[in-house]
């Protein structure tokens, strides 16, 4: 289990290491005195979509931190007060507004965050919470990390296979696409249930089943992107410069597919979480009494008449996390200028 934390930390450090190409000196430094008007201007002004990145990033961080600090907090929310989620959300909003003001130095003149800074925030929050969890040995984030890693694996497999199929074409492409067609012919949830049924319940099994089923979708998407990218002039120019197919795929095709990949990753994360929760609800994934929302809903099912909030609150929590990932994905897609075709 420790290995998963380490993997997540390493992955989160990559943006930090890769990104220092524009120095901070280029950002415009503004030091205006604090005023409500300034806050309103900064938080509510267009392009407002950019604030979604910060909002979702900070919320995610907050969610992870809250989850880490107290394992029983989700249970507390579920079993005690209605007001707690509201307070939670309120706290998040304050953090967002405050950060937009406190870090106004890193907002560029057109309202966007300086790219490096944004990535640093994201990386720092992921690293920070992972370290915290590593130390406190709280399993809550374990599941999200596992899901995340599973998703990333599926995407990477899909990327490699889809890129090769799209670029090389020919019989390799044809064979692969037939395999994809076959897997896609089955409803994917059913396939996952089938696979887990065969292997037995448990988080690892569910995530593995997820990877095995999902890669085909990603392979298809990437293959399509690669085919349209192949028609670009700079690929021809690279061929004329003498670059081999592998080199072209590595240096020209994949880096240009990455922004859509990142966006897709964040959006698919929501789907993956829902899938895992569904599996747990069906009793096939994580087993009770480990605090996983799907499992909690399963437990709450028996009390739906007397204490409906036992089902409602975990559901709301799932919804919240999925919405956050969706917001993050949408704002990332705006930031990268990616058009959503999936």
């Amino acid at each position: 289990m420790q290995a998963i934390y380490v993997l997540v930390i390493i992955l989160a450090m990559l943006p930090l290491l890769l990104q220092f190409r524009t120095p901070f000196e280029e950002t415009k430094t503004e030091s205006k005195p604090f005023s409500l008007k300034l806050v309103k201007e900064n938080f509510l002004s267009a392009p407002n979509k950019q604030s979604l990145i910060q909002a979702s990033t900070v919320m995610l961080t907050g969610a992870f931190v809250f989850g880490a600090l107290n394992t029983s907090l989700p249970l507390y929310l579920v079993t005690e007060e209605i007001g707690a989620p509201v307070v939670y959300l309120l706290l998040q909003s304050i953090i967002v507004v405050a950060s937009r003001y406190l870090f106004r130095k890193y907002i560029l003149s057109d309202g966007k965050w300086h790219t490096n800074f944004m990535l640093i925030i994201l990386s720092a929050s992921i690293i920070g919470t992972s370290l915290l969890l590593f130390v406190t040995q709280v399993p809550w984030l374990l599941y999200v990390s596992a899901i995340f890693n599973g998703l990333v694996s599926a995407i990477v497999i899909g990327l490699v296979i889809g890129t090769i199929a799209g670029y090389i074409g020919g019989w390799f492409d044809y064979t692969l696409m037939r395999i994809c067609d076959t897997v896609m012919a089955f409803p994917n949830l059913l396939l996952v249930i089938g696979l887990v049924g065969m292997s037995g319940p448990g988080l690892t099994q569910v995530v593995t089943a997820l990877i095995l089923v999902q890669w085909v979708y990603y392979a298809r998407i990437f293959r399509g992107m690669v085919i349209s990218l192949k028609a670009e002039n700079y690929i021809t120019a690279a061929q004329i410069s003498g670059s081999s197919s592998w080199k072209i795929m590595k240096k020209h095709i994949v880096p240009n597919i990455l922004p859509p990949l990142v966006v897709m990753g964040t959006l698919e994360m929501g789907w993956a979480i829902m899938n895992i929760s569904s599996m747990s609800f069906l009793g096939l994934g994580v087993q009770a009494p480990t605090p996983e929302w799907g499992a909690m809903i399963l437990e709450g099912k028996s009390f739906v008449r007397s204490n409906p909030e036992l089902m409602l609150y975990p559901g709301l929590c799932i919804m919240l996390v999925v919405i956050i990932f969706n917001l993050l994905g949408e704002s990332l897609s705006e930031h990268f200028g990616v058009k959503r075709r999936f």
Partner: protein, 271 residues
């Protein structure tokens, strides 16, 4: 022996569609010409006449339906991969659209380094020095090394494309409408640059264009391409202005006036 020998090239596109009958479109018909080392052969033609196709065929990336292309004595489409890779370094290209010819995620340095990395084994400092030399040769500076394509104008980016084409010191450069998407001022500047480079480095050009003025600036030989056929080849470009061939006549009359006093669409009298 000439550097490039094009023999009876014909090229046809077939459409393989399940729903429509098989349709053939002849893009090039029996084209033959040759280019000597150090000279510039310009092909003049209107859009759709097949100019880009002939460029791709000469570059060795599209096999013609019929005919052969002899580059430095070798038939480009029958030699083995290894030899082709060796010949590749002497056959480079500059495309029309400067922005789509470069990977938007690579810096100018990386763009120009790519051919060098493929063929030469230079140390990092040697490579950087070569790249800076090339940049200065095309009129840019070493401050442009770390910039990305979107930070350059169309004209500057085209200079980077030229620098990349020059990096391996090729024998033949195919110029596929290199200045057509630039504005007038940049067009002249880039054409002058190409002319100077040709004289200085003894380059050979295959210059594809639809602009007679641009062709006139660089060409030693001028070929007229109309509907896939090479209707005329002038070994002296100024013969273009005296030829009685109907296609040439039409092209001549389509040239716009250089001064309002010689204009024909509107009155050329002073008010």
């Amino acid at each position: 022996m000439s550097l490039l020998d094009v023999k009876q090239i014909s090229h046809t596109y077939k459409t393989n569609s399940m729903f429509k009958p098989h349709h053939e479109r002849t893009v090039l018909n029996n084209i033959s010409f040759s280019i000597d080392e150090g000279s510039c052969f310009a092909i003049l033609g209107s859009s759709g006449a097949g100019k880009s196709t002939i460029g791709k065929i000469i570059l060795g990336i599209e096999k013609p339906t019929q005919g052969s292309v002899q580059f430095m004595g070798h038939d480009l489409y029958t030699i083995d991969k290894k030899l082709k890779h060796q010949l590749r370094r002497d056959l480079q290209v500059v495309f029309q659209d400067s922005y789509s010819s470069v990977n938007p995620r690579m810096t100018a340095e990386q763009i120009i380094a790519e051919p060098l990395k493929n063929y030469e084994k230079l140390s990092a400092t040697e490579q950087k020095r070569s790249i800076i030399e090339l940049l200065e040769h095309v009129g840019l500076s070493k401050n442009d090394l770390m910039k990305y394509p979107h930070e350059f104008s169309g004209g500057q980016l085209q200079r980077i494309n030229i620098a990349r084409a020059l990096s391996l010191k090729p024998k033949l450069i195919v110029l596929d409408e290199p200045v057509s998407s630039l504005d007038m001022v940049n067009q002249t500047l880039i054409l002058e640059l190409l002319n100077n480079l040709k004289k200085e480095l003894g380059l050979t050009y295959f210059f594809i264009t639809h602009d007679i003025k641009a062709a006139h600036m660089l060409a030693d030989q001028l070929g007229i391409l109309e509907k896939g056929q090479l209707v005329e080849v002038f070994n002296n470009p100024s013969e273009f202005f005296t030829s009685v061939h109907p296609v040439v006549h039409q092209l001549r009359s389509a040239i716009l006036a250089e001064h309002p006093s010689s204009r024909t669409i509107r009155s050329n009298k002073r008010p």
